[in-house]
Symmetry: none
DNA sequence: TGGGTTTTTCTTTGATTTTTGAAAGCGATG
DNA sequence: CATCGCTTTCAAAAATCAAAGAAAAACCCA
């Protein structure tokens, strides 16, 4: 999941929309801005963003209704943003499916922190994730990504990469590697070499810099640099 | 699955703690109250509640630290409750792993609504619904819908899908699956494979994209994408 | 209730696909 | 230039899938 998270902004006050838009972009989110409920909803369905910032007082289709309709088919976090500062409205907003409720005038810092908090949950980053160099390994999902693009690995390839990724900078000799990844084995072949080769071919496409380095006479290391 | 959601309250002001406690119980939650950070954390580890209401100014161990330590091992929602009403503290609280931040004096109705909102996400049992990809599972009614159209599943098929749907993106190996869906069994067959096959046939009609993916050498995952 | 019917559950089997590992020759390196 | 590492090739092994049918359970109707 290395692509930018997409945030949909639905807010009819243009200055505020612009303001939020710029701030979110500065935090490296991809943004889509819409100015009324119907357009917001249709953009939502079209793009399926990672989070929605939603004003309540919207032309054409009320914000609450937008929240409800989104909730019908999706769990995407919704942060409601509004001038209404009374408890009943907050309760109503939250019970309509919103995940959070911020009252205007709000601090942009707080909004950004809340956006971060919600996105943190949603993306699998929260659970067993190992980052190394420009790779992201999702251990639960047994996936490896680079630049948001998925790299297909076989079971053994994944285990081998996991060993390296969990211990960046540590040199393993062939015997250690064989012990961990091929425990059932009575060594004596060059499996390790071959599999390191497989990984290199898949991970180091193009003439990129080395990821898994050979330590002559010893074994292999994964180095980030 | 049908048990009450458990809420852990960590708050040193006894009257406030008592107040929240009673209100939550009135809403049919099971509550545990603790008055300092260390006890709160150990209760958390012992009971693994569904949600935590956490005061910031705590004796023995600061609330922020409690939040951080909980986050180290768990995604359980944390609502911070405090008298500190400045943006920096909010940002700090949220960035320490909290999911929400409420300033005292707060309205109990708002707290309850926020508790509902967070539990709705985490614990589908609260709404009785699990949504995943373009499917909606109604757990109470043991029904599955796509585009409002009902998909007929047998009991075992439903249980298997429920396991996947509650943990989208997580790879299960055959043994884990058998443990959960066929607990009475002494494995040694390929029931899992066969039932995954059944689900696929029913859920992936036409040449649609895969829902349940096989991870060769490991098991199966439900991925939304 | 009880006997027949339908549905669900689970096993077996064999075809198909993918992964795995050994060997061998080439290439790089100190 | 001799050793160690790399890559390719290919056959064996393993994993997965789908189909078919036996066994069990659930259901129905008299």
């Amino acid at each position: 999941m290395e692509r930018k998270p997409q945030v949909l902004i639905v807010e009819d006050e243009k200055e505020i929309a612009k303001f939020i838009d710029l701030e979110l972009q500065a935090e490296n989110y991809e943004t889509i801005v819409t100015y009324d409920g119907v357009t917001g909803l249709s953009k939502f369905r079209e793009l399926n963003p990672d989070l929605v910032v939603l004003d309540l007082m919207l032309p054409v289709l009320d914000g609450l209704e937008v929240a409800r309709r989104i909730r019908k088919t999706s769990n995407t976090p919704i942060i409601i943003l509004t001038a209404k500062d009374n408890v009943e409205d907050k309760v109503l907003g939250l019970d309509s499916g919103a995940d959070d409720y911020l009252v205007k005038p709000f601090s942009i810092e707080e909004l950004l922190a809340r956006v971060r908090a919600h996105l943190r949950r949603v993306n699998p980053a929260v659970t067993g994730e190992v980052r190394v160099a420009d790779l992201v390994m999702n251990l639960d999902g047994r996936e490896v990504f680079r630049d948001g693009r998925r790299i297909e690995l076989s079971a053994k390839e994944f285990e081998l990469l996991e060993l390296f990724a969990r211990n960046p900078g540590k040199v393993f000799n062939r015997f250690e590697i064989e012990e961990k990844v091929w425990p059932e084995y009575t060594g004596g072949s060059n499996v390790v070499d071959v599999y390191v080769g497989y990984l290199r071919r898949k991970l180091e496409r193009d003439g990129e810099r080395r990821l898994i380095h050979t330590v002559r006479g010893v074994g292999y290391v994964l180095r980030e640099e």
